[in-house]
């Protein structure tokens, strides 16, 4: 896998595309430019990794691609919808049905079981209870945790928690999965398992964008882009 | 039983200050002179020299009278909340008006200062209180069908409602202290949970459990005392507002709410104790777990 200095992956309209996006954070003194004119597109069935040193803007880019933040200038389009023109409720609907997130810290709700954590986005999406149960079981089986459904996060290992988080992220059959340092808190072996899972999901047709420091994980990707100081290099 | 609006109150004895107003004109013998309480004068729209008609029945017969003066009655605590309208007549006039012959509702007695030789029983001159008590005892021993009381006994009898109110307030106070105590313990417990990570770091770098406990207790007591001071300040301001409001409402100089030194001591003491107790529980809970557990590892 090689870095693509052109920074634009030419393809038919992808799942998500960023066009000349910048992100500036106003700080006391001097504003901080986290992103400077980044253009990027990701298609279905692609695993794209974004690598770079700490503070280069990888996570910021990921947040923009997922619609949890808006660019200062430029545009981000998710399945044909420009995020800058949408209100909070509309963006939330897009995220609920079309985008899944996986984070380094898992962010599972500790008072819910693995099954309930995975079911949560489906509850918000008004999936009927029967369908919810069926899908939850299948998802946890898929990630190898069919026998840990009733366990709470405190009773799971780091790797198991991350797999539950992945199952939750794909609960509503999203088109796009964004993973921010998914193996950051895992040991090497477990990290490989998670990486393999993400790879398999992209093979199933999901567009997966992966931000990572881990070169081995980055190497699993179909495409790799490198960032430094807010630009694609 | 109280006599209603159209009837006259008769208050015996020098129990009120009389507001001296402009001299009234001389009163013909068949027109009775009366003194009006200021609330009654205001309600009737009359002043010194104005004519009135008196009756014990709404339909008459009416006795002509003239207002000799308007006075400000002493407001008894038992009358707070009521708005009595007072009028004073000469006793024979009211007895005639009410058709009560020579009846009276009560008789107030002023005794001469005690004097004379010391009785053999005590060997010393009687005090004013002893003399009064003796007169009351002798009067009650007679079978004339009335009961005599000293002023102190009467005040004690009439204080019944206030004693009840005092007990009521004490009971309410106990409940609010209970609610506040639970509230304080809850807040300190929440605070303790916030301290968990700090305590974990402190233990990791080698601070002894004793120092940790001391720190938590000092924080707890400090928060409790600070809260107590603020509460006392708020209570004092509220007390001023309550007194101002009720004095204006009931037109009285009575004190309805008072922050006493004993109250200050009690609230600060209870506050500090509860804070320290909550802090002790918090410290125990926090130290139960190891430093890494405190940090969530």
């Amino acid at each position: 896998m090689t870095a693509d200095p052109a920074a634009r992956i030419a393809a038919p309209p992808g799942v998500v595309a960023a066009e000349a996006v910048t992100k500036v954070y106003p700080m006391p003194g001097r504003p901080v430019e986290a992103l400077r004119g980044v253009t990027l597109a990701v298609e279905r069935g692609t695993l794209l990794s974004i690598v770079g040193p700490s503070g280069c803007g990888k996570s910021t880019l990921l947040h923009l691609l997922g619609g949890v933040d808006r660019p200062t200038t430029g545009s981000v389009t998710i399945l044909g919808h420009r995020t800058d023109g949408l209100g909070d409720a509309a963006l939330a609907r897009i995220r609920l049905r079309h985008v899944g997130f996986v984070f380094q810290r898992f962010f599972l709700l500790p008072m819910l079981t693995a099954e309930e954590n995975v079911a949560l986005p489906m509850m918000e999406a008004r999936v009927p209870a029967d369908e919810r149960r069926r899908r939850t079981g299948a998802l946890l089986e898929r990630v190898g945790l069919g026998d840990r459904m009733r366990h709470r996060p405190g009773q799971l290992s780091g790797g198991e928690m991350q797999r539950v988080a992945i199952a939750r992220a794909i609960a509503n059959h999203p088109d796009l999965l964004l993973a921010d340092e998914p193996t950051g808190e895992l040991d090497e072996a477990t990290g490989r398992e998670v990486g393999a899972l993400l790879r398999a999901l992209s093979r199933d047709g999901l567009a997966v964008v992966l931000v990572t420091h881990n070169p081995d994980l980055a190497a699993l990707a179909d495409r790799q882009v490198r960032m430094r100081d807010g630009v694609l290099v | 039983m109280r006599i209603g609006l159209v009837c006259a109150f008769l208050v015996l004895g020098g129990l009120s200050r009389i507001a001296v107003s402009r001299p009234a004109p001389a009163v013909p013998p068949d027109v009775w002179p009366v003194s009006l309480g200021e609330r009654a004068a205001h309600r009737l729209g009359v002043g010194p020299g104005d004519p009135l008609d008196l009756s014990v029945h709404p339909a008459g017969p009416w006795q002509p009278a003239r207002v000799a003066q308007v006075y400000r009655p002493v407001r008894y605590p038992t009358e707070v909340g009521r708005e009595p309208l007072e009028i004073r007549l000469h006793l024979p006039d009211l007895q005639t008006l009410a058709g009560r012959g020579d009846e009276a509702d009560s008789i107030v007695i002023r005794l001469r200062p005690p004097g004379g030789p010391a009785p053999a029983r005590t060997g010393r001159a009687a005090t004013a209180g002893e003399a009064t008590a003796e007169v009351v005892t002798r009067l009650n021993a007679s079978s004339l069908g009335f009961r005599a009381y000293t002023s102190a006994e009467l005040a004690a009898r009439n204080s019944g409602p206030f004693e009840v109110i005092a007990r009521f307030h004490r009971a309410i106070g106990a409940v609010t202290v209970l609610a506040s105590s639970v509230f304080l313990v809850a807040i300190m417990t929440l605070r303790g949970e916030e301290l968990r990570r700090q305590v974990g770091v402190m233990r990791l770098i080698g601070v002894s459990p004793r120092t940790v406990v001391g720190t938590v207790l000092v924080i707890a007591a400090g928060v409790a005392l600070l809260g107590s001071a603020i509460g006392i300040g708020l209570g004092y301001l509220l007390s001023l507002a309550i007194n101002a409001y009720y004095r204006s409402l009931f037109d009285t100089d009575l004190v309805f709410s008072r922050v006493t030194p004993r109250l200050l001591e009690t609230s600060a003491g209870v506050s500090a104790l509860l804070g320290i107790a909550a802090g002790a529980v918090t410290a125990w809970r926090v130290l139960r777990r190891g430093p890494l557990e405190q940090l969530g590892r």
Binding site: A92, M123 | F183, T189
Partner: protein, 407 residues
């Protein structure tokens, strides 16, 4: 609303000890709030309940007085009562005389309140034993002065040992010496009754009105009070206005009007209940605001994750508000149990005040008081959740997620 209620419930049990402590505090505060809503208007509600039970819709008294508040009388009450009975909807107008008497039994003498009623008048009291006053007074027995039947109250039976069939002497004079110069009447206890407005340890007797008037040396035809029974109590106000307009010597009021007049004398308790009720609500607000704010502060990462997952801002705000309301709701059962128990204790204290009838209560549990307490507590819960909800509304997802990772 599904996931919101689900998440709120799970959040509350996340730290059970903490939630239990807060719910306990809210229960005590809520109990005080319930007590204050019971106190506000409690005495009026109690009085209204007793008055309604008596069955008289209108009361007529000498102008400017309240029933039995003084010696004033309605002259020609019999004639006025007859005129009232001609009005539509009136089934009875009962003149009643009230006065203080002395009862002598054996060597003992004690004061008693006396109620002079037309014979066989239902409603002035409720017979609990023996027989009521006869509808018509019987003929004198033999050549002796007639012994009239009386009905006594339970206090006299209990405290003085007076039984049905006992003979007592009623007199307007207190002492033996003066009694020889005053009228006295020999009586036989026919029954024992509950008189509704008796003070603790008060003795009361009911006897025929003319007999009482004779004892008091008052001319016939007068009364302290006229009680009016109606088929349609909803017309009571109209009747009261007619009576007051017809006779300038009297005031007439329906039960509602009477309660309004007595309510004006209970200002202290109403204001006290407002002040303490407000303080209780304020304490509850502070407790809920503190715990929910702390809880939100601990979960910012999770909340940001929920937002990232697709929960819109408004839903998260709703979640936090529901947490506040849920805490208040969880405290309701404890608040009601504790509140009713405390109210009973406080009621006993206030009822020990002189001059308060036994059958009245200062703290009255009504549906209105319960609804008001529930409403105030739940609203306080929502208000308590408002500040932390505002915090979550302002939450920026991306920076929060970043902060949670690096902290």
């Amino acid at each position: 609303m599904g996931p919101i209620l689900f998440l709120a419930a799970r959040t509350l049990v996340r730290v059970p000890a903490r939630t239990a402590l807060v719910v306990l505090g809210l229960s005590v505060t809520g109990a005080l709030l319930l007590d204050m809503t019971m106190l506000a208007g409690g005495l009026q509600a109690s009085l209204g309940s007793v008055l309604s039970r008596l069955g008289f819709a209108v009361r007529v008294v000498p102008r400017g007085t309240l029933p039995f508040s003084g010696d004033a009388e309605i002259a020609d009450a019999d004639r006025l009562a007859a005129a009232i009975e001609t009005q539509p909807g009136v089934t009875a107008a009962v003149p009643v005389v009230g006065a203080n008497l002395y009862v002598r039994r054996g060597g003992r003498r004690f004061p008693s309140f006396a109620l002079g009623v037309p014979s066989g008048t239902p409603g002035a009291y409720t017979l609990v034993a023996g027989a009521d006053l006869p509808a018509r007074p019987g003929p004198p027995s033999g050549g002796t002065a007639p012994v009239v039947p009386i009905v006594i109250n339970q206090n006299m039976a209990r405290l003085d040992g007076v039984r049905i069939g006992d003979r007592v002497v009623l007199s307007a004079a207190p002492g033996t010496i003066l009694q020889t110069f005053a009228a006295a009447q020999a009586c036989r206890v026919a029954g024992i009754a509950d008189f509704y407005f008796d003070l603790p340890a008060q003795r009361t007797v009911a006897l025929a009105g003319p007999v009482l008037r004779r004892l008091l040396d008052r001319p016939p035809g007068g009364a302290s009070l006229i009680l009016v029974r109606m088929t349609d109590p909803s017309r009571a106000d109209a009747l009261a206005r007619w009576i007051a307009g017809r006779d300038a010597r009297v005031d007439a009021f329906s039960i509602q009007e009477f309660l309004a007049r007595t309510g004006a004398r209970l200002t202290y308790f109403n204001q006290f209940s407002v002040i303490l009720g407000t303080m209780s609500a304020a304490v509850a607000f502070l407790l809920i605001a503190a715990i929910v704010t702390l809880s939100v502060g601990e979960r910012l990462g999770e909340i940001a994750m929920l937002r990232a997952m697709g929960f819109p801002r408004a839903r998260i705000v709703g979640l936090v508000l529901v947490e506040g309301v849920a805490l208040a709701a969880a405290a309701l059962p404890g608040a009601f149990l504790l509140g009713i128990a405390i109210a009973r204790h406080l009621d006993r204290i206030l009822l020990s005040a002189p001059g308060v009838p036994e059958n009245l209560h200062f703290f009255t549990f009504t549906a209105a008081a319960a609804v008001r307490t529930v409403g105030i507590l739940l609203a306080t819960g929502a208000l308590g959740g408002a500040y932390p909800a505002a915090v979550t509304a302002r939450l920026e997802v991306a920076p929060t997620l970043h902060r949670e990772v690096v902290s």
